[in-house]
């Protein structure tokens, strides 16, 4: 038995929207603490770790831990129809579907068939990040959108004073400078830089709308970790770098 209710669908909508372009299908663990989705994209470039604590829900009931195989693309299409309606989620184990109900003046019920997902063990890299910067998510999402105008990839760079988000393209360059004082926290043990594909970042920043802050863990030519957090939810991404061309 599993049942959950969300008075405000935003958190679920935006986090699934951020994830579903990268990951087609995934096993979502349901425990008494909440929902957890951890998966890698098929090309092994990005890792997603989504945690929605039970406190993020207005009602959350589960008898025993479960793993729900979910077609995230389908789920995203359904959630896009939610508007601002209240969402009720209920497992119908007899028919192997997840019933997703939007409740407002009318009640709309979608059946999402559950799928079988392979439970392969994730090889999560163990990384030491020399820099950790926490900034308002809006700064990051706007910078990524700026970078998209000129290029397909973006360089994240930090020194003792600033975080730089820059992109170079045939049509011009863009650089966003975020001074230390604007950051919520700024721990930089050495200057470092890495380049990343905007293809992935532009999906990840969709989490900006629900997060209070984003913490960026950066190093030299190693993956970047970005933790978008809010009181009852966390959406973490690990993204492999691109090699900078000479």
């Amino acid at each position: 038995m599993f049942k959950a209710r969300l008075a405000d669908p935003k958190i679920l909508k935006y986090s699934i929207d951020a994830v579903s372009n990268m990951i087609d299908e995934a096993g979502v663990s349901v425990t008494k603490d909440g929902l957890r989705l951890k998966a890698m994209d098929p090309a092994h470039v990005a890792l997603v770790d989504l945690e929605l604590k039970k406190e993020a829900f207005d009602e959350f009931e589960v008898e025993e831990p479960l793993v729900l195989g979910i077609d995230l693309e389908r789920l995203n299409t359904i959630l896009k129809r939610a508007g601002t309606d209240q969402i009720l989620i209920q497992l119908d184990s007899e028919n192997n579907v997840l019933k997703i109900r939007f409740k407002n003046s009318s009640t709309r019920t979608f059946d999402l068939p559950l799928i079988e997902v392979s439970e392969e063990e994730l090889k999560v890299p163990n990384l030491d990040f020399p820099s950790q910067i926490e900034i308002p998510p809006k700064i990051l999402s706007e910078s990524i959108k700026d970078a998209e105008i000129v290029s397909d990839h973006v360089t994240l760079m930090v020194d003792e004073e600033n975080l730089f988000i820059s992109a170079k393209g045939d049509l011009g360059n863009v650089e966003v400078k975020v001074p230390k004082d604007e950051a919520k926290s700024f721990e930089v043990s050495k200057s470092c830089r890495s380049m990343f594909s905007l293809e992935y970042l532009k999906d990840m920043i969709k989490a900006s709308d629900i997060a209070d802050s984003v913490k960026i863990y950066l190093g030299d030519n190693i993956p970047v970790r970005m933790d978008f957090t809010t009181e009852n939810a966390r959406l973490s991404f690990l993204l492999a770098p691109r090699i900078e061309s000479e």
Binding site: H44, A46, I115, S197
Partner: protein
């Protein structure tokens, strides 16, 4: 495999006319290339490799880089001639109008070979590009498949790929990237019926393409006179500069 080393233009022409298009052709020699079409280009004499495949695609390769310096896609018209002791290869197509003319002044070798290649298909690429991969290489569906349009609208929705087979029979292709449910069969059937509604007499083929298709769905497809093709999608990094998380 047949080859001639240092043939004259006349004997190379004869060789090519005999061997093409049933074999794949390689020509190595000193040539110049003129191209006129969407752009105009001229490449003066230099030693290059020209490859003419059985599908009548042609490309000129230099001794570095992957990309050919000049090429024409499958289905081009290719003719051979001789002109002042030069071997001349014309490759052209009408839509869009493009002409390529390669003139060899010295030929090191011509070679023809038939490649026996029946390996199962593996398509690589990002998840969103399956339809794109088929657009690039319609032979993924089957030999001789020709694509007219992607995302063709019908009353029941939008067809992923619409084309004709080697016999000119209309083919509707529905591509699924992951889990295939009976719903996909219904969808494909609806598209086929939409097309038949306009022309009840005409034969229309419907093919469902997915990495793996459950037995139950296969049976359902057979029952409805539809076809399927399992294509083993393989995932690869978007490009060589993108690192994978598994490297860390």
């Amino acid at each position: 495999m047949y080859f001639e080393v240092a043939p004259t233009a006349e004997s190379a022409k004869k060789f090519l006319e005999e061997q093409s298009p049933k074999s794949m052709i390689l020509i190595i020699g000193d040539c110049r290339v003129k191209y006129r079409g969407r752009a105009k280009s001229f490449l003066d004499f230099g030693e290059r490799l020209v490859v003419i495949k059985r599908d009548k695609s042609i490309m000129v390769q230099r001794d570095t880089k992957c990309e050919p310096v000049n090429w024409q896609p499958p289905g081009s018209v290719i003719e051979y001639g001789c002109n002042d002791e030069f071997l001349v290869i014309y490759a052209f197509r009408n839509n869009p109008p493009e002409k390529m003319r390669i003139e060899f002044r010295k030929i090191k070798m011509v070679l023809s070979t038939v490649l026996q290649d029946y390996a199962p298909l593996n398509v690589v690429g990002m998840e969103t590009s399956y339809v794109g991969k088929i657009m690039e290489d319609p032979a993924i569906i089957e030999e001789g498949f020709h694509i007219y349009k992607k995302e063709k609208r019908t009353a029941s929705g939008s067809i992923d790929i619409y084309g004709v087979d080697s016999k000119g029979v209309p083919v509707i292709v529905e591509v699924k990237r992951s889990q295939v449910t009976p719903l996909a069969v219904t969808q494909l059937e609806a598209y086929v019926l939409d097309l038949k509604r306009k022309n009840p007499e005409v034969e229309v083929r419907g093919i469902l393409v997915a990495p793996r298709i459950p037995k139950m769905v296969k049976n359902l497809l057979r029952e409805k006179g539809l076809e399927f093709k399992e294509v083993g999608w393989e995932f690869e990094l978007p490009d060589e500069k993108q690192k994978s998380l598994l490297e860390f």
